[in-house]
């Protein structure tokens, strides 16, 4: 019997098999941000265990509330900043260089096929797009990761999702993943890996693959994963060129992290996405998903384009296609947050920032702020937001607010018309 990519990664990182189906893995990258890490840092300090297992394997960023909005968030930032300095954590990103963790860390080249990655953030599954095992964990797991470089997991089963067909113009990776979550439901992949394969995935950019994997957790998945290939190697090339003679060689070596043809799966699902139309959520759960044309009477107060799901350059380019030469509805507040400083500067060079601002958007610095109602962009009671983020829980972007998840193209269309709109009408 062959093995899945995740089984191969588990085998190569095996540290211990303490009991039953649980395994303890060695971790290649421990990622930290200023919301879930400071309590771990303080706890280690109080226990006299203020150590790190390997400063070069720890990456840290201040991204959720930046610049700090009050004394409490300033304190959180100070705790992680002082800690990074104390332990000489070279890859620490503060206000001069910070961006949304799951966009920033891949961009910096911190992920490799076959890696194990943990972070105190549920959307860590994003990094599976590189053929890695990447899982969100709580603060105690993070604490142990920082101290010992290990983490425990139950042996996960894998759901293989084959995506075939041809995506229509105006239909995007976000629409595909919303449709998949609708099918799996919010608990359909609990304790499982979602493996995304097939011609549509092969043709996707790394940005789109990250969008797919980012939302694996919304179906309960431990991690989303794509097979590392030429697209992966090209994305990583600036960071790996000293390790491989050519891109071809990197592509060849990455093949060892592919699932075997005769690997065993808990479930296999095939989607032909040729007929898929733009999707949108309508309730408080990410599996409450409809065709966007069925929601076209919904008036929106705010549009948010950004986040670890859809704040990358590809996302902004797509949205700008709709916004170019237009102004947004006067009753809509448009907010755009490029996910990283690099995305921001690229968007400036390409005139995308100009397009957003001319259309009437407020452009913020890179931050997670609005997505989880922690910083700028919070909704008032009864307000409705068309958002490119990944969660529509009750109160997520502010108490009493309603969030409709959709693609950047669909969010831009909602900004222009003031209501949820099939973006294909505006192309």
């Amino acid at each position: 019997m062959g093995k899945t990519i995740t089984e191969k990664i588990f085998d190569s990182h095996h540290r211990d098999n303490p009991a039953g189906e649980t395994v303890v893995l060695d971790i290649d990258v421990v990622m930290c941000h200023e919301i879930t890490t400071p309590i771990a840092i303080n706890d280690l300090l109080e226990r006299g265990m203020d150590r790190v297992f390997d400063a070069s394997k720890i990456k840290a960023v201040i991204d959720h509330v930046t610049p700090s909005k009050d004394s409490k968030t300033a304190t959180q930032s100070k705790i992680i900043r002082d800690w990074a300095k104390r332990h000489k954590i070279k890859d620490f990103f503060d206000i001069d260089a910070n961006g949304v963790c799951h966009a920033l860390f891949p961009e910096k080249g911190f992920i490799r096929p076959g890696y194990t990655v943990i972070m105190g953030d549920s959307h860590t599954c994003t990094h599976g797009a590189f053929g890695a095992f990447a899982a969100g964990v709580g603060t105690t797991d993070l604490e142990v990761g920082i101290l010992k470089g290990v983490c425990s997991f139950r042996k996960p089963a894998t759901i293989k999702i084959t995506i075939s067909g041809t995506l229509q113009t105006g239909v995007y990776a976000k629409d595909v993943i919303l449709h998949i979550i609708k099918t799996l439901t919010v608990k359909g992949a609990t304790d499982k890996i979602i493996e995304f394969v097939g011609p549509v995935v092969d043709a996707m950019s790394m940005e789109s693959r990250m969008t797919l994997c980012n939302m694996a957790i919304e179906a309960g998945g431990t991690c989303g994963v794509c097979m590392p290939d030429r697209v992966t190697a090209e994305y990583l090339w600036p960071h790996i060129q000293s390790d491989y003679a050519t891109i071809d060689q990197a592509v060849e070596e990455f093949r060892k992290w592919h699932s075997d043809a005769n690997a065993a799966y808990a479930q296999t699902i095939d989607f032909d996405v040729s007929d898929l139309s733009p999707q949108v959520t309508y309730g408080y759960k990410p599996d409450e998903v409809k065709n966007i044309s069925d929601m076209s009477d919904t008036i929106v107060d705010q549009v948010y384009i950004g986040s670890c799901t859809n704040g990358r350059i590809e996302d902004l380019r797509e949205a700008a296609k709709i916004l170019k030469g237009k102004t947004i509805d006067p009753n809509v507040r448009g907010i755009m947050s490029p996910a990283t400083p690099l995305v921001y500067s690229q968007a400036m060079k390409e005139g995308i920032i100009e397009t957003f601002m001319s259309a009437g958007f407020c452009v913020t610095n890179p931050t997670c702020g609005a997505c989880l109602g922690m910083s700028n962009g919070v909704l008032a009671e009864g307000e409705v937001c068309a958002s490119t983020t990944n969660r529509n829980f009750n109160g997520r972007m502010g108490k009493g607010g309603m969030v409709h998840l959709m693609s950047p193209l669909s969010a831009a269309a909602a900004a222009v018309t003031g209501r949820i709109t099939d973006p294909r009408k505006l192309l």
Partner: protein
């Protein structure tokens, strides 16, 4: 080891998420105790009052499927811990929440949906948790008793007082 069992509160809904357990706006706190007043503040459940005496007295939560889905925030476990709720009984849990419970030396116990249906119908005032014999028993009506299974590793975590103590000893 923590003491387990006591007064129950019933959250009769599937998919209760971490934002409902503790909203993100309180994640700026750097102490577990500071979370105490905000427990389940945004829970969307008919008739539920986060300020009720019933919740203040609760030591055990009984709920349904996929409890704790969403964010990785361990604050969702700590807000129970600082309110002296150390047991959640559900028909299933989201992975990160379940792991966070055991990592803190607390119990996330899974029962079948039929057993949860019985608990939701009978609504016992208190439940005893016998960890050694893997039994959940109602003090009010002896008729209600359920057996749970606990992964050996999770059992070790609870006995060790959590993952940090376990990992420090073993790795």
């Amino acid at each position: 080891m923590k003491m387990f069992g006591g007064s129950c509160i019933f959250l009769d809904r599937n998919d209760i998420n971490t934002d409902e357990i503790i909203p993100a706006k309180y994640l700026t706190e750097n102490s577990k105790l500071a979370l105490k007043p905000y427990i389940l503040e945004d829970l969307k459940l008919d008739g539920f009052d986060p300020q009720s005496d019933e919740l203040r007295q609760a030591r055990v939560i009984v709920t349904r499927q996929n409890f704790g889905c969403g964010s990785s925030r361990e604050h969702a476990v700590w807000v129970f811990e600082v309110n002296d709720i150390n047991v959640v009984i559900a028909s299933s849990f989201a992975r990160i929440f379940r792991q966070n419970m055991f990592n803190c030396g607390m119990l996330a116990l899974e029962l079948s949906e039929a057993d949860i249906d019985t608990l939701m119908t009978e609504r016992p005032a208190t439940l005893d948790i016998d960890l050694q014999n893997s039994l959940i028993t109602s003090k009010d009506t002896n008729a209600i008793q359920f057996t749970f299974t606990l992964n050996g590793f999770d059992r070790d975590l609870v006995a060790s007082g959590g993952w940090l103590a376990y990992a420090d000893k073993n790795y």
